[in-house]
Symmetry: C2
Subunit: 178 residues, 2 copies
């Protein structure tokens, strides 16, 4: 069961730069999911997230048209799924079925949450002005969920060509940083 | 000694989402450096990088005026330095001296490289249209350097409030992903 994550904490899961999964729900179609590593925080609260979804991605049309998506952060244990999703297209594959992911209903968007993810961020598209030039969407996270069973689960970070680092040691350095 | 890093490989050091250091060189002033975790790749080659530098950051004026900077990726061994730099201001601190960092001359920009970094990316500001709304600068990396002594050194990822994860295991999943 997912538990609500306060919006003020959303940045703590995007700022570390994990590989993410982006789900979309085109009308009359099955939900789709893509692997996404080009994203960043733009504001703490309400949480704004910039992300690149290229026109060549099958998810582009659904995201652009419905203006909704979910960003899910998968645990490192799903590395093969993450890579597999990044290597096929929703144009000919039902990825949720193919990779045995559990779609869960979201509360504010039609795109599904992913039951196996550490966190799920329900997002709406806030600004498309940079889509034409940079494939850059600005999203606002309107609702967030965390999976209590995966608290502090290591995330994946992509270094290119299927090379990932897995989160190792957690350290704390005394800080005034927000 | 830094070794040239092909521009086509720059994304491999930003896409994993590490904490970075951003150096700037305002005219007639000492070089400055800030800690930056809000950044993303926008294009492979020439490498385009989006990053947030807020008006409240002392580095903002230098970046905005000179339109040049260096993005350095520090190894995890520098966690205290990274945190320290994020907790003081160039307005009253000579951070290179204070944190014992080695400024090295860059080839295309006035801002210095950091001798202790894994990679240094010389960048010029390409687009400031999103600065007013999102504090978002679009940079183009024009020259890149890697430190052979720090090849595959673990990076830091910031989870908020001085909590970091350190890169652990490296894994490879067979992939067609670029």
């Amino acid at each position: 069961m997912m538990k609500e994550l306060p919006l003020a904490k959303v940045y703590q899961f995007i700022e570390p730069g994990p590989v993410t999964l982006l789900t979309t729900q085109a009308q009359g179609a099955k939900p789709n999911v893509m692997t996404m590593s080009w994203h960043m925080m733009l504001e703490f609260e309400p949480p704004l997230i910039g992300c690149v979804v290229a026109q060549g991605n099958y998810s582009f049309a659904a995201l652009h048209k419905t203006r909704e998506c979910v960003i899910a952060v998968p645990p490192a244990s799903l590395s093969k799924v993450v890579s597999g999703i990044g290597n096929c297209t929703g144009g000919d594959t039902d990825k949720f079925a193919c990779f045995d992911l559990t779609p869960l209903p979201a509360s504010h968007v039609a795109a599904p949450l992913i039951g196996e993810a550490i966190v799920n961020l329900e997002c709406v598209v806030k600004d498309t002005k940079m889509v034409r030039t940079y494939n850059l969407f600005i999203l606002e996270c309107v609702k967030a969920w965390e999976n209590p069973k995966l608290k502090d689960a290591p995330m994946l970070h992509h270094h290119g060509y299927g090379n990932f680092s897995v989160d190792g040691e957690r350290i704390h350095v005394k800080s005034k940083m927000r």
